[in-house]
């Protein structure tokens, strides 16, 4: 499976990773998203009623942890990380509203169409994420 991200996700990731309270974010992405069959990622809240391209909101690290928004194109075996926010701490937020969910959904579609994406890979020791702009 290929894992991509869009700019909106990268911006949030960069902001959060600088804070000590959210240092676990990178490891959380690695453990949850990498080296897994797609079927295991089909959980959480499905926002768009689609079996073939589910738009998913997933809670990680329990109730006080992170909320991830991502899209999976099942047939293509592509996953697109769209947004992440913590639930608690200085940058914590309750939820995002429906307008924002809809906007993110539109953004990911645009990014897929224009290939404005970043490919996520693991470093050699599998401890870090490497973001490479798709050419």
């Amino acid at each position: 499976m290929n894992i991509y991200s869009i700019d909106t996700f990268n911006k949030e990731f960069e902001k959060l990773i600088k804070k000590n309270a959210y240092k676990s974010l990178e490891q959380e992405i690695i453990s949850y998203f990498f080296n897994k069959p797609i079927e295991q990622l089909l959980s959480g809240t499905r926002l768009n009623n689609s079996d073939t391209f589910p738009y998913i909101k997933k809670r990680l690290l329990g109730s006080g942890g992170f909320r991830f928004y991502f899209l999976i194109l099942i047939k293509e075996e592509n996953l697109y990380l769209m947004f992440v926010h913590p639930k608690t701490g200085s940058m914590g937020a309750e939820n995002i509203d429906d307008e924002s969910k809809s906007l993110l959904y539109k953004q990911v579609l645009n990014c897929i169409e224009t290939q404005d994406l970043h490919l996520l890979q693991l470093s050699e020791d599998s401890k870090r994420l490497i973001f490479s702009k798709v050419e």
């Binding site: 009623n49 391209f53 909101k57 329990g62 939820n95 969910k101 809809s102 539109k106």
Partner: protein, 155 residues
Amino acid sequence: MECLTHKGEIQATFDNVRNISFNEKRSSFLDEDAMNSFLDRILVFKSELKAKTERITEINSKLENITWYSDLNDDSLMLLNDLISVAKDLHSSLVRQYVKLTFIKNKGVAKSEIKEFKNAIDELKDTYNDLDSVFFSLPEMPEFIETTKKLSLVS
């Protein structure tokens, strides 16, 4: 001149202190049995709160799973609407319970259990709001519908 000795008052105080001292020696206020009983009660409280939190977490998971059901008919949507209302009621009751726990939390008792309880309550709110979004709000948003249509052509 008559000398005031206050012997009577001193004797009364002496008797008073002696009685208290004697009773305190026999007092069970901080004896081992009483302490154990007090600590047992805290353990029972923690265990009951943990079980309650697990029940809420299980409900949250069941509510979340509903978002993976496709093509619900009107009857199912009506039932789902009622389910969201019941979940809101449950949330209100649980919040009231949580507020009552503030006193205990401030005393430093069962802090982590109370925190987990609060997190599960917050998650319940998150989950029923998501159900409302998925089945009633997002499907009515033209931009969202349009994106779904376009994605079905891409995938």
